[in-house]
């Protein structure tokens, strides 16, 4: 029955550690909001109690009231506009911070994250995989490229004040830079079925050298780029996209991040979402000058594999294929 006793030595756990600069700034914003709310709430309580006491029914106090509707209106409008100004100030403060975790450089160290009922799977740039934990080096900006295999999940790291929903058939990103080593919670925050509350784990922030050690110890298998390169051939992508194949398909070397003209007019930026769509829904965005002949790979290829092929395409520089064919000459290059 010990479960029923509260272990008071645990203490009140009020604030998760803030292990990034961003997290500290969110805390500062929160503190600002709490102060504003606190002042207003206390003011209200003081007013209600004070007025309630002063004008209680049994009090013989003078109640003649010289106010007019006009004075009331002025008080009301002044109050409303002051408050509006305060709220808008808070809005601007909060919105500037909002961009930070949701907009960052795609050159950052990218960890692929896949959510599925009920676990988190992560793959590091060198190919190391882990489940329900995420090891990251301290001081380095990490980009999470996330997708779900089934329902909507939400990747939540309280100590980094970071959360983002993870959706099926779509990529969402988040960026963070942890600045202290340690272990912290990782939660799924969007209800996803029976064992939603078990879909949790740890993020482990390590010294870069320890991280490298960890990679070598646990590390296994080829990097996503290398795996993607292999898949690119085994799924037959290279048959059309490389060299002077019989069927003409656009070259993919250096395509990542470029603006691509479309057959239906207009252009699109070749980001991860576009690359993913082009694999599972090739007819959605046909490149100008090409026939819509590519078959869809939907249902034949797993989310892991798509992420690896995307990583491979992302790693290609313009001209790579001219130099050494689809295998490229950057076999040993560290992936981005």
């Amino acid at each position: 029955m010990e479960d029923w006793l509260i272990d008071l030595r645990q203490g009140l756990y009020l604030l998760p550690e803030a292990v990034s600069d961003y997290a500290s700034r969110v805390d500062a914003l929160y503190l600002g909001l709490v102060i504003v709310s606190g002042v207003l709430t206390v003011a209200l309580v003081v007013l209600v109690v004070g007025l309630g006491w002063r004008y209680r029914a049994s009090s013989p106090i003078d109640r003649t009231d010289p106010r007019t509707e006009r004075i009331d209106r002025i008080i009301e409008v002044t109050w409303a506009s002051t408050l509006l100004a305060v709220f808008l100030g808070l809005f601007v403060w909060a919105s500037m911070l909002y961009f930070e975790p949701y907009r960052g450089s795609t050159d950052a160290m990218t960890v692929n994250v896949i959510g599925k009922q009920w676990m988190w799977k992560a793959q590091h740039p060198d190919g190391t995989r882990e489940i329900n934990t995420l090891h990251v080096p301290v001081g380095e900006t990490v980009r999470l490229r996330m997708t779900s295999q089934d329902v909507i999940h939400s990747f939540y790291l309280p100590s980094l004040r970071l959360k983002r929903d993870v959706l099926p058939e779509r990529y969402t990103d988040a960026w963070f830079t942890a600045d202290q080593t340690g272990e912290h919670w990782l939660f799924c925050a969007e209800y996803c079925g029976t064992d939603h509350s078990r879909m949790r784990g740890k993020i482990v922030v390590m010294e870069p050298s320890a991280y490298d050690d960890w990679l070598t110890r646990t590390g296994g298998g080829p990097s996503p780029v290398a795996q993607g390169r292999e898949l690119f051939q085994s799924y037959g992508c290279s048959g059309c996209h490389v060299g002077d194949a019989r069927v003409r398909a656009p070259s993919l070397a250096g395509i990542y991040g470029r603006t691509v003209p479309l057959a239906k007019g207009g252009t699109i930026t070749a980001d991860e979402g576009y690359l993913r769509d082009s694999i599972v829904q090739p007819q959605k965005h046909v490149v100008a000058g090409y026939e819509p002949v590519m078959p869809s790979y939907a249902g034949q290829i797993s989310e892991d594999e798509i992420l690896q092929i995307v990583a491979y395409i992302q790693s290609l520089e313009p001209g790579d294929w001219e130099a050494g064919g689809p295998v490229g000459n950057n076999v040993n290059e560290t992936p981005r």
């Binding site: 479960d3 029923w4 509260i6 272990d7 008071l8 645990q10 203490g11 009140l12 604030l15 998760p16 969110v26 914003l29 909001l33 709490v34 504003v36 709310s37 207003l40 709430t41 007013l47 209600v48 007025l51 209680r56 029914a57 109640r63 009231d65 209106r73 009301e76 409303a80 408050l83 709220f87 808008l88 808070l90 809005f91 919105s95 911070l97 909002y98 089934d150 329902v151 909507i152 939400s154 939540y156 309280p158 004040r161 970071l162 959360k163 983002r164 929903d165 058939e169 969402t172 799924c188 925050a189 969007e190 209800y191 079925g193 064992d195 939603h196 509350s197 078990r198 949790r200 829904q281």
Partner: protein, 533 residues
């Protein structure tokens, strides 16, 4: 408080107009239909409350040891579905609103009495059907029915539950149409729009939301049903559809639905505070404008439920901006209620204690809403207990407290009898204390990172969870007490007289309980609302 000269019971009134079950179940009298609704929502409330109690019991300890994960998920689904769809949305409009709207307008009944009765049948049958589906079919989607979990993955009777909620939507629409038409067409002579009590304005605004938002929920639920039954994939990403579209449509209804809950509460509190401060309301026009502004802006803030969902970050900023704007009219209202106390003659009766509790709890709920609207903070606290605490402060601390306050305030009119003032004050205080004990720790839990809808949780959070569970016990007393002393009053309470509070408003100008057609002769209005001084 009661008037000096004891007044005789009216010889004929709506309660003794017929005693048979049939005279109740086939009645078209808005006052009796108000009672039918009161019985239904009370039953649903205690069912939803029981589920909440089980949830709080489970959360006393970190491991999920009391019940299975499936059962826990079904419990919070029942709690949410019952409380939101079958208690909060109809609570004030369909009980007090039904009873009072024609009285306050000086009308003999609503414009469409039979539609009114039909709406109760739709509501009750649909509600019972949904609850049967949820309990027997093990629905575990939460009240939000998010796709693709609800449409593709949940192995439960989602179809039936969704169909039930869809059907109940028609009762909201019927009520909305009835109230709007009645307010437009059936006001007593001299009762101009700007002489209407704020309770009428609030119910009018609520009805607009009923009429404008419910159909969008309807089509959303139809599409879920089509997805499950026919394999139509409008929300299914695997078929090219978009699960975010579901969230947009769902919150387009469900955010205004929050205003369906809180606007009538604003109305109730305005009546109570003016009466017991014996003072006209501070800034009547401002109050009306605020109600209508909230109604309007309520339709453009739905995206603030989706700041981390993957919608465009620019959309997030826009929705955050509108949310900050919608906070202002609420702040005006809070300020005006407080200012109404100035130079008043204040008595702390039970309804007034409820009214002032509302003021405090709603303020905390509203200000934490501003905290949630601040984008970067929302990223952290979204889908945590912070959100849970916030909306309970609004929906329970705000709407339910106001509902109970209103029930006490108009109880003498509803029944013709008084209740035990001392017990009512005890219950009101128990509610205030129990509520804060239950939900304040949840703000702390939320910022500490505790996600919602968790059956088991890390030990770090236990102390706060235990506090919350203990508070729920006190809160339960606050809810059970009125059942006892109001039940007693209904049978044995002393006669109230037509106007025990010496209040203004047409409903106090007729006997308690009122006659079947409300007024013996159509009243005439020649003064503004809240003419207390």
């Amino acid at each position: 408080m009661s008037t000096a000269t004891p007044e005789a019971w009216p010889r004929e009134h709506y309660l003794n107009a017929g005693w048979s079950i049939r005279s109740w179940l086939l009645t078209t009298d808005h006052k009796r239909i108000g009672w039918l609704y009161t019985v239904s929502i009370t039953a649903f409330f205690f069912l939803g409350g029981f589920a909440a109690l089980l949830i709080r019991l489970e959360l006393m300890t970190p491991p999920g040891d009391l019940m299975s994960a499936e059962f826990y998920n079904e419990m919070f689904s029942i709690h949410g579905i019952v409380m939101v769809w079958f208690f909060l949305i109809p609570s004030i409009p369909n009980t007090l609103g039904n009873f009072l709207l024609p009285l306050m307008l000086g009308a003999r009944d609503l414009a469409f009495p039979r539609l009114n009765l039909l709406s109760w049948y739709i509501y009750t049958v649909g509600g019972l059907f949904t609850i049967a589906a949820v309990i027997l079919g093990g629905v575990d989607t939460g009240w939000t029915f998010y796709t693709p979990y609800s449409s593709m993955f949940s192995n439960s009777a989602v179809m039936a539950a969704v169909a039930g909620v869809f059907i109940v939507g028609f009762s909201s629409i019927a009520t909305g149409i009835n109230f709007i038409v009645t307010t437009h067409k059936m006001r007593a002579p001299g009762l101009t729009w700007f002489r209407l009590p704020l309770f009428v304005w609030a119910n009018y605004a609520t009805s607009l939301i009923f009429v404008l938002a419910t159909p969008v929920l309807g089509i959303t639920l139809v599409l879920i049903a089509l997805e499950r039954a026919l394999g139509i994939g409008i929300f299914d990403p695997a078929l090219g559809g978009d699960p975010l579209l579901f969230q947009h449509l769902f919150w387009f209804y469900s955010h205004p639905a929050v205003y369906i809950m809180i606007l009538p509460a604003f109305g109730v509190v305005s009546e109570i505070i003016t009466c017991f401060a014996r003072k006209r309301i501070f800034g009547y026009t401002g109050m009306v404008v605020a109600i209508m502004a909230i109604t309007l802006f309520g339709f453009v803030v739905w995206g603030h439920h989706m700041f981390v969902s993957g919608q465009s970050i620019y959309a997030g900023i826009l929705f955050s901006f509108f949310t900050m704007l919608v906070a202002v009219p609420s702040a005006i209202k809070t300020f005006n209620w407080t200012a109404t106390l100035y130079k008043g003659r204040i008595s702390f009766t039970a309804p007034m204690i409820y009214g002032l509790s509302f003021l405090g709890l709603f303020t905390i709920g509203g200000l934490t809403g501003v905290i949630l609207a601040a984008l970067a903070v929302d990223i952290h606290v979204h889908d945590t207990y912070f959100v849970v605490a916030h909306f309970h402060y609004i929906m329970v601390g705000g709407a339910v407290t106001a509902y109970l306050g209103g029930l006490h305030f108009w109880w003498p009119k509803l029944t013709g009898r008084m209740y035990s003032e001392i017990w009512a004050r005890i219950a009101a205080l128990a509610l205030f204390i129990g509520f804060n004990l239950t939900f304040f720790p949840q703000f702390l839990l939320g910022y500490a990172g505790m996600p919602r809808r968790y059956h088991a949780y890390p030990e770090d959070f236990q102390i706060l969870h235990a506090m919350s569970s203990l508070g729920a016990g006190v809160l339960a007393i606050g809810y059970l007490l009125p059942l006892v002393y109001l039940g007693w009053s209904m049978l044995r309470g002393p006669h109230a007289g037509s106007n025990p509070w010496d209040a203004r408003g047409l409903e106090w100008r007729t006997s308690s309980p009122p006659p079947k057609h409300n007024f013996l002769e159509t009243p005439r209005v020649d003064e503004p609302a809240y003419h207390y001084e």
